[in-house]
């Protein structure tokens, strides 16, 4: 095990720690916002352990908190998480080949763990990086959500701390590199305009799904997936 740890240099470990810290802040906001918004504490905690995908959690909880239907919330979350499908193919070698590494390992596939794994090229390093990042994030994220949910039971106004800004700010930071691709950028901007314009008229959750109409501008693949995928350039 010592030699495995030595395959990870300090730079990678420091970067993983920084991402864990940032995600902990996001997780704490998620717990606090959902609970102070009126959901029972077990809801954000169960979502965080079982779904373990920040964007989808915020999106689904946001739909429900805004009065949308649970079906729209699930649909929004699932479409958002469809990106995990290509991720799984990308890091399959790092997850491992046995069923007892695949089953728990698959759950650790996130934007962050995939981004870190892709920076490593030899298989042993990819494995250690994937599992270190995945497990560290799983621990930090869920601990932070529990703490945030506890804080949310006593916090009256999460808005005074600007916690409602954390989620869109993090998403923007995540998606920025993907917008370097012209077709993707045009599609995304059109989608955003559609979603905002539709918000006053449609039930919560639907405007974001309607944004997919922007894909008509996405064009042909001009660059490889590694260049267009938001996660692969995280931070």
């Amino acid at each position: 095990m010592r030699s495995l740890w030595r395959t990870l240099d300090h730079g990678v470990l420091r970067d993983i720690a920084l991402v864990c810290l940032a995600d902990a802040i996001v997780g704490a906001s998620f717990g606090a916002i959902t609970v102070s918004g009126g959901l029972p504490p077990w809801v954000p905690i169960a979502m965080s352990v079982l779904v373990f995908a920040g964007g989808a959690q915020f999106a689904a909880a946001g739909v429900v908190l805004a009065g949308g239907s649970p079906a729209a919330a699930v649909l929004a979350g699932l479409i958002l998480n469809a990106r995990l499908l290509p991720y799984g193919f990308t890091v399959a070698d790092a997850v491992g080949g046995r069923w007892w590494t695949r089953l728990p390992g698959a759950h650790l596939i996130t934007d962050e763990s995939v981004a870190f794994t892709l920076r490593q090229h030899e298989r042993p390093r990819r494995r250690v990086t994937f599992w270190t990042c995945g497990l560290a994030l799983f621990g930090c994220w869920n601990a932070a959500v529990v703490l945030g949910a506890a804080a949310g039971t006593v916090m009256r106004d999460t808005g005074a701390f600007g916690l409602d800004t954390v989620f869109p700010a993090v998403l923007l930071a995540l998606v920025l590199p993907a917008l370097a691709d012209r077709g993707t950028r045009h599609a995304a901007l059109l989608g955003a305009v559609i979603a905002v314009a539709a918000t006053p008229f449609l039930p919560a959750g639907l405007p974001v799904l309607l944004a997919l109409a922007g894909l008509v501008l996405a064009g042909q693949p001009a660059v490889t997936m590694a260049d267009t995928n938001p996660a692969l350039e995280v931070r």
């Binding site: 810290l21 940032a22 802040i25 906001s29 809801v43 169960a46 979502m47 779904v51 999106a59 946001g62 009065g67 649970p70 079906a71 919330a73 699930v74 979350g77 958002l80 998480n81 499908l85 290509p86 991720y87 193919f89 070698d93 491992g96 695949r102 698959a106 759950h107 808005g159 005074a160 701390f161 600007g162 954390v166 989620f167 869109p168 700010a169 993090v170 998403l171 923007l172 930071a173 995540l174 998606v175 993907a178 917008l179 077709g183 993707t184 599609a187 995304a188 989608g191 955003a192 905002v196 918000t199 006053p200 008229f201 894909l215 042909q220 693949p221 997936m225 267009t228 995928n229 938001p230």
Partner: protein, 102 residues
């Protein structure tokens, strides 16, 4: 958020995650589909950013939140470390609200 909805979201998400490690040797995703999937992700994320930053319920949320998101975005574009981006965005919104801007 009923338990059934959480379970459905969790099961679907886990299926997306598990497919790669299980089927890697048996099927490949065509490049066109991969491109569309990553473009769809970027479109959804951007729409989420826009609606989460600008709207509350069915109306405008006020200036404090979009201003904080813009500050975070500007820092992120300069490759500022993630924790700084998050704290600066929230602090901007909190400061604006403290000074009376909703």
């Amino acid at each position: 958020m009923p338990l059934l909805a959480i379970a459905a979201l969790a099961a679907g998400t886990y299926a997306f995650r598990l497919a790669g490690p299980v089927f890697r040797n048996r099927l490949r995703i065509p490049g066109r589909v991969q491109h569309l999937l990553s473009a769809a992700t970027a479109v959804l994320l951007t729409a989420l950013v826009a609606t989460a930053a600008l709207t509350q319920g069915h109306g405008f949320t006020g200036w404090a939140r979009p201003a904080g998101v813009l500050v975070g975005g500007a820092l992120a574009a300069r490759r500022t470390p993630f924790p700084v981006v998050v704290v600066a965005a929230a602090a901007t919104t909190a400061a604006l609200r403290l000074s009376g801007i909703p």
